[in-house]
């Protein structure tokens, strides 16, 4: 069987305890949500934590709360399966439910948490391999070496962000709360991502993402998340697009958010595409222009099995178009 490296396990029952444990242990400790990313990475020896701090026993991190005025608050340990079927999520934030339903497999949706999904490590076909496999090549930037096998002269790692929830949340202007033993801070989810494949998010060692909040739904708002992957299940996204549009009574687009997935170090908002649509009717020619802008903003590199960068780019355009067309109807 594939074995995990030896590591200790702690299961604090409050967030404060978890924070102090994380502070004491420093970088050697890792948070364990559903474990579907962390334990795979550990088995492959991409990471070798000496302690995992389980968040499963902390009640504060659970639950979905909806209030017409306050909006939605989702605890970091909420599973994707819970999100997928939550009536408020399905009713008011459908892109979230769609994104959750598109993750991995049924089992992974039962296990995977929202927090883990947002903090997902970036992916690359030279990185998501076993330790013996990686020994056939020079150590790459992401593992602490100084080469990149994908972009030969790269100074930074181009591993791709593939979490499906983040783009969907970003179109709803989601914020995340980060807690550590010294206090807490709130960050726009959009700004959580660093733009470096090596350490994709700005969560500091010792910090815990405790919950996600989304403003209340706006009237006449439509949203959706579309994903391209090779198979209808199991696979990570090769391209993804989250879209939210609010319309005036006249049918004119008042506001719009378009965020791409799986084509860069983090989710990619596309203001140029949004600007095409703002103040205009959701008509095919504008939609086409927006899709073109989205395509321009996508710069995938050859680090995923399943499709070439050029096809992934093409799919960004197609998905953007299809997402907008579905909202226009």
């Amino acid at each position: 069987m594939i074995r995990l490296p030896k590591m200790d396990h702690a299961a604090p029952s409050t967030l404060i305890d978890a924070c102090s444990l994380m502070r004491e242990q420093g970088e050697k400790a890792r948070l364990l949500g559903g474990g579907t990313d962390l334990l795979v990475a550990s088995k492959l020896r991409n990471v070798k934590p000496s302690l995992v701090v389980s968040l499963g026993g902390i009640p504060e991190l659970r639950g979905i709360r909806f209030d017409e005025k306050e909006g939605l608050r989702i605890g970091a340990m909420t599973t994707l399966n819970e999100l997928r079927y939550d009536p408020n999520v399905v009713g008011h934030y459908p892109a979230l439910a769609e994104a959750a339903a598109s993750v991995g497999t049924t089992q992974l949706q039962y296990m995977g948490t929202l927090g883990g999904n947002l903090c997902l490590d970036t992916r690359c076909m030279y990185y998501n391999q076993s330790e013996p496999w990686r020994k056939s090549r020079a150590v790459c930037l992401k593992m602490g070496g100084d080469v990149c096998h994908v972009v030969p002269k790269a100074k930074k790692c181009y591993a791709v962000f593939s979490g499906d929830m983040a783009p969907a949340l970003i179109v709803y202007e989601a914020q995340v709360k980060l807690v550590d033993s010294a206090g807490q801070r709130t960050v726009n989810l959009k700004d959580l991502y660093t733009g470096d494949g090596k350490s994709p998010n700005q969560i500091k060692p010792g910090e815990i993402l405790s919950d996600v909040t989304i403003p209340p739904p706006v009237e006449k708002q439509g949203s959706t998340y579309l994903k391209y992957r090779v198979r209808g299940s199991i696979d990570f996204p090769l391209a993804g697009v989250a879209v939210r549009v609010t319309l005036k009574d006249s049918g004119i687009c008042q506001d719009c958010r378009i965020v791409l997935n799986a084509v860069s170090f983090g989710p990619v908002p596309v203001p140029d595409a949004e600007n095409v649509l703002k103040g205009r009717e959701l008509k095919e020619d504008f939609i086409d222009q927006a899709a073109e802008q989205a395509t321009k903003a996508a710069h995938p590199v050859a680090n995923a099995i399943g499709a070439t960068p050029s096809y992934r780019r093409k799919m960004i355009g197609i998905l953007t178009r299809r997402a907008l067309m579905s909202l226009a109807n």
Partner: protein, 154 residues
């Protein structure tokens, strides 16, 4: 570093003494002796290690045993009651949904979880719910038919 833990597997309490990095799959197979859960990949992509935890289909290869203490764990062996197989097991047999049998425990448990939460599952819902359980032999038709045969019958 070993820890004492008590696992409730198939309605029985099992005391095991394991290191904290042990997965549920390792403990089930190596410490307790339920070998019905298989390791097809060990990395979350095939479903052969599926077990039910509080009725939910989880991948035991990516679950630490320590994480499921005090929870109700059901393996394929636990579906047999009083020497009689569960209706899902029976349906798989009768519909020819079993060839080599390596994926079978996982597929049956995924189907069981689906039918328990959604006894009226449509064909599409069945296909989706089972899409995390690879099968190399059957082409899935008979698996889906077996599950379909139970829809509405409970």
């Amino acid at each position: 570093m070993k820890r004492e833990l008590e696992l409730n597997v198939n309605d029985e309490l099992w005391e095991v003494n394991v290191e904290p990095h042990k997965t549920l799959l390792e403990v089930l197979r190596e410490d307790i002796g339920f070998t019905g859960a298989k390791e097809g990949c060990g990395l979350g992509a095939c479903g052969t290690c599926t077990v039910l935890v509080e009725g939910a289909p989880l991948l035991s290869c990516l679950t630490l045993a320590l994480e499921v203490q005090h929870k109700r764990i059901t393996t394929i062996e636990g579906l047999v009651e009083g020497g009689r197989p569960d209706p899902v097991q029976k349906a798989f047999i009768e519909h020819g949904a079993i060839q080599c049998g390596f994926c079978t425990p996982g597929n049956i448990l995924s189907a069981k979880a689906l039918l328990d939460r959604n006894p009226r599952a449509s064909r599409e819902e069945i296909e989706e719910a089972l899409a995390g359980n690879l099968c190399r032999c059957t082409g899935y038709q008979k698996i889906v038919e077996a599950v379909e045969s139970l829809v509405g019958s409970e």
